[in-house]
Symmetry: C2
Subunit: 321 residues, 2 copies
Amino acid sequence: MAVYTEVTDEDLAIFLATYDLGAVLSCKGIAEGVENSNYLLHTEAGYFILTLYEKRVNETDLPFFLGLMEHLAERGITCPQPVKNRQGEALGRLCERPAVIVTFLDGMSVKRPDPKHCAMVGEGLALLHRAGEGFAITRRNALSIDGWGPLARASEARADEVLPGLAVTIAEELAWLQARWPQDLPRGVIHADLFPDNVFFLTGKLSGVIDFYFACNDTLAYDIAICLNCWCFEQNGSFNITKGMGLINGYERVRKLSDAEIDALPVLARGAALRFMLTRLYDWLNVPPGALVKPKDPLEYVRKLRFHQHVTSARDYGLLR
Amino acid sequence: MAVYTEVTDEDLAIFLATYDLGAVLSCKGIAEGVENSNYLLHTEAGYFILTLYEKRVNETDLPFFLGLMEHLAERGITCPQPVKNRQGEALGRLCERPAVIVTFLDGMSVKRPDPKHCAMVGEGLALLHRAGEGFAITRRNALSIDGWGPLARASEARADEVLPGLAVTIAEELAWLQARWPQDLPRGVIHADLFPDNVFFLTGKLSGVIDFYFACNDTLAYDIAICLNCWCFEQNGSFNITKGMGLINGYERVRKLSDAEIDALPVLARGAALRFMLTRLYDWLNVPPGALVKPKDPLEYVRKLRFHQHVTSARDYGLLR
């Protein structure tokens, strides 16, 4: 949860005066997102989300994120839409931070996904990949394999505080992945953070996707590997193959995976586990004073990594071929 | 800010099924209140606030709080209204906690109140006091002078960690107040926590009052003393007599203060400063592990107390008689 920047009623009124949304009726900080400050904004024109981008978001990436949300919506994906001010601009400034207003999206995220949710997410992910085709702006994935080395080194000295031997585990895994990371798989725009928090359901159907602030151009199958990690494990740490089957089959209903993509899934899943372990580890070791965010447990992803290390083929994830 | 209890989509659907509010469309934790978990709930029937009462709220007090909100609304005060379930009950249970749904109130709280806001709050406070008349349930103020001794003792050993000499300051102030605390002033239902956070404005008018979870039966003028503390000081710590004048005059437009109430204001203001200093000090020294709440600075109220200690009469607060 995150509300980092406190927006005063006066600053907000000045900001809103640049939009055609009428007067502010209410504005409440919401416990959503960990990188930005988010507010639920009620104006005479309706309900919106106001986002202030905090330090960790690179301002030059914002045209990619905002443009992508528009591109995807034009192609049938339900996601928040940036609202433009009277100058026709989506990106403004509020409290000395880049700020946008996006449309409010109804929907509930699921805390305990079942196999049906996984199937809908798999299908939704493939639809997202398809809808992303033709998007003109590109963004490199700063948190792909090239970024993990620096990230690992930043936590190396203190990793064993979290788990004895963790620094060695990370170094060995990184070396293993660097020798095997697939380079020639189909690429496109990936969400790169499609955790259950970021997928909404209504009346038993996937109703929308939010939080595109890690989206980038990368290997499409890596996005599936991320989802295998965050949708298909039980809370007790075990992998649920029925959920994995749902996810992969759901994806393939829209977009068939090539043999090379299927072969690469175990490696990609190990990489995805390492990526989330590394960012969580960094955050765990670097909680800023006065933080209002509870860091997430890196050990969850150490356990997931260990599972993937014993996977021999995509069949272990539920693939039927 | 506070979201202590995470409500799953499943638990929420079961809870909502006991109400006539249609299906859940969205539910977001909001950064409001520090004692409870609050969610902005969107259902097919509209927008509501869902509150889960955490440990610090005594369940036996809830009928007082909920009944008071209804009593006040029937008498013209705009405040959240408890929504009743199909059994006609306002109080339910969710995630093993007492839970209520109240109506959503538009409005913005002001971060930097001006004298006009203070005048509106003074008037609003008097209207609240008048509207509270005849409310059948009573609740003792656990945080009045009888409660300050135990509260002071709970922090005594570590108070000087926050400010050298603070333990002695507290003990001396408490003894001074115990010798002078007024006993025979007009009593009634007081809000007891009417901080700027808890008052909404729209189009330049006071539009509503929220958070009745400290309300109780106590000396009416003590509520004015609380407001002098939280509405009339500048961020640099100085008392703004124009704001004080606005507050007191605003109050007296609705309810005239007796000479005894006026004479007691300086003592009551010292008590109010001590009360908020003591609860903030306790919270400051007892931040629970993993807390998502940033404790408020007790020193702000040490400074306010020092101001009140030099006040000689209510004229120093802006009273013109």
